[in-house]
């Protein structure tokens, strides 16, 4: 009995993944997330050139979660691969890339492939779902099946690393986008990203609070939307799914797996429960499984489907 999982041939101590953009700016912080209980960690998303990100405020708490507009601050792909490379831990490392178009994605994938042997990464994740950065994700219309398909093919042509396509819960027709990714060679789907964009207006100052004006919603409030998306994608594709969005307890993670997720991503929980949240959620999952006679994750994954 236990939470052991396998990701593209690599054995994981549990299915809990640190979502990209959460605490993952440095190698030391990814290692800390492993110590705090994650079975896999996703590095901060990398772009071709360094980016400072949006002006602050970047994050604010709202009812049911956080609203954020970070704007992909990152040191760029070259410095990033140097920072995260040489990974030798038992937890899986996922390298996240984000580009403006298929050419940029292909260029990033090529750099990851060049570094692959010494990198130690288990997979590459391509993000097509950021809701608050001009030129990227949903703001660049990357969520359509056509776009997902062409970017997926372009990346697959450049790297042998297993490819995860990260989709948005905000674009209707998630199942079609996921199927397009699968048909183009994707090895897994990550559903999803922050929802929205949304906005918080400070009524005293009579203006939007976030520096960028709008931001992506994360946290418990978005979980029902993400659960429904995962449920639909599970019916649409054969490849495994990472469920990401609003998981804040072991029961939330079990629910996400029942919808169809093989692995569970989490991030905003670190706000509510601190950096130790990941391990705590795993212990809660184990306790739930024990009292509900589930001996392995296979008994739970997709259980909500007839």
């Amino acid at each position: 009995m236990g939470l052991e999982s396998v990701m593209f041939g690599k054995k994981l101590k549990n299915p809990m993944i640190l979502a990209s953009g959460i605490l993952g700016m440095t190698r030391a912080s990814l290692e800390a997330a492993c110590e705090n209980g994650c079975g896999a960690v996703t590095a901060k998303s990398l772009t071709p050139e360094p980016r400072k990100g949006h002006d602050g405020p970047n994050i604010v708490e709202v009812e049911g979660g956080l609203l954020n507009a970070m704007g992909y601050p990152n040191p760029g792909i070259d410095a990033g691969l140097k920072e995260f490379g040489g990974w030798k831990r038992s937890e899986a490392l996922i390298i996240s890339i984000v580009g403006k178009d298929k050419k940029e994605f292909a260029g990033l994938a090529e750099k990851v492939e060049t570094a692959r042997k010494t990198l130690g990464a288990t997979a590459i994740e391509a993000v097509m779902s950021c809701p608050h950065t001009p030129g990227y994700g949903t703001m660049a219309g990357q969520g359509t099946p056509e776009c997902v398909s062409s970017i997926t093919s372009a990346i697959k042509a450049k790297t042998k690393l297993p490819l995860i396509i990260k989709l948005s819960p905000s674009v209707p027709g998630e199942g079609k986008a996921a199927k397009a990714a699968e048909d183009a060679g994707a090895d897994a789907i990550n559903m999803g990203n922050s929802l929205g964009p949304g906005m918080l207006i400070d009524i005293h100052r009579r203006r939007p609070f976030l520096g960028f004006g709008v931001g992506g919603m994360s946290g418990p409030a978005i979980k029902p939307v993400v659960i429904r998306c995962i449920y639909d994608i599970y019916d649409a594709v054969e490849i495994p799914i990472i469920g990401t969005g609003g998981v804040n307890s072991g029961r939330d993670a079990i629910e996400m797996m029942m919808a169809g997720a093989t692995w569970v991503g989490a991030g905003t929980t670190a706000y509510y429960r601190g950096a130790e949240a990941f391990g705590q959620i795993c212990r809660e999952m184990e306790a739930w499984m024990k009292s509900n006679n589930a001996t392995k994750l296979r008994d739970v994954i997709g259980a909500a489907h007839e």
């Binding site: 953009g21 959460i22 605490l23 993952g24 700016m25 440095t26 030391a28 912080s29 290692e31 800390a32 110590e35 901060k44 360094p50 980016r51 400072k52 990100g53 002006d55 602050g56 405020p57 970047n58 994050i59 604010v60 708490e61 009812e63 956080l66 954020n68 970070m70 601050p73 990152n74 040191p75 760029g76 410095a79 920072e83 400070d202 005293h204 100052r205 203006r207 609070f209 520096g211 991030g267 905003t268 670190a270 706000y271 509510y272 429960r273 601190g274 950096a275």
Partner: protein, 264 residues
């Protein structure tokens, strides 16, 4: 769960210059839960948001050096203007139970949270000795305030234009070696804090330091301010000397807004 990380908007009560580029802003707000060592994320609409050490809880007070566009905007505030902020955020200084005497070592503008600590210490019957250092006489701030709450205040400047010529380290070493302190608190340039932490280790005195890193979310989520795997905004900014000395990035390189590493 954390309480809702509310955005406060209140009125600026008083603005007083501390020196040629630092102003102290007193706000019409008694932020009673604020503890020494914690900070605010001050939001200047249309400009940005920056972390600022709390210099007093009631009335809520910050001291801001004019060094960039957000701090320019804050130091341009006038009494009656609105000011918005999130907080108090971060882990405060811890004072050992039954402490009777503490030492604070401040470099430059690092003195601000140490003043708040010394003020609270006095209110709780704990004696404070302060060592305050800066480059030159014009960089010294909070000297008058410290005199009001400390038993003794020692001042040093690199050029000898005020107080004793030299750095805070000579004074601090002499004090730590000759007097009994229940804890030593340091805030200022990281190399200074490292030296204080090493000195305290040598003399077996507990020590706490307040670190600074480029910060964005302020609540332990985005990872912009991580130092050796710890977030300065939530795991810190206050760390014990031993915790800090165990960090391989303490007193060494730092990261900018992109997360790229730079040597100090």
């Amino acid at each position: 769960m954390l309480p809702m990380n509310k955005i406060h908007t209140n009125i600026v009560k008083k603005v007083s210059p501390e020196n040629y580029r630092v102003k102290t802003i007193e706000i019409e707000h008694a932020l009673e839960e604020a503890l020494p060592g914690q900070f605010l994320m001050v939001w200047m609409p249309g400009t940005g948001e920056r972390p600022m050490s709390i210099g007093n809880g009631y009335p809520l007070t910050i001291s801001v050096a004019k060094v960039g566009k957000v701090s320019d905007a804050i130091t341009s505030l006038k009494p009656g203007d609105m000011i918005s902020y999130r907080g108090p955020l971060g882990k405060p200084f811890a004072v050992p139970k039954d402490a009777r005497s503490v030492l604070v070592v401040g470099g430059g503008y690092g003195v601000v949270p140490l003043y708040f600590l010394a003020k609270r210490a006095k209110e709780n019957g704990i004696g404070t000795v302060a060592v305050l250092g800066a480059r030159s006489a014009r960089d010294i701030i909070y000297e008058r305030q410290l005199f009001a709450v400390c038993n003794e205040v020692f001042v040093t400047t690199d050029d000898g234009s005020h107080g004793k010529k030299g750095t805070v380290m000579a004074e601090a070493e002499w004090l730590i070696g000759s007097k009994r302190f229940d804890c030593v608190y340091a805030c200022g340039p990281e190399m200074m804090m490292r030296a204080v932490a090493e000195m305290c280790r040598k003399h077996r005195v507990p020590c706490q330091v307040s670190l600074e890193r480029y910060m964005k979310c302020g609540v332990g989520v985005c990872g912009s301010c991580v130092i050796s795997g710890k977030t300065v905004c939530r795991d810190g900014p206050v760390f014990s000397g031993e915790e800090a000395l165990a960090m391989d990035e303490f007193g060494k390189p730092h990261r900018d807004a992109t997360g790229a590493l730079h040597e100090r």
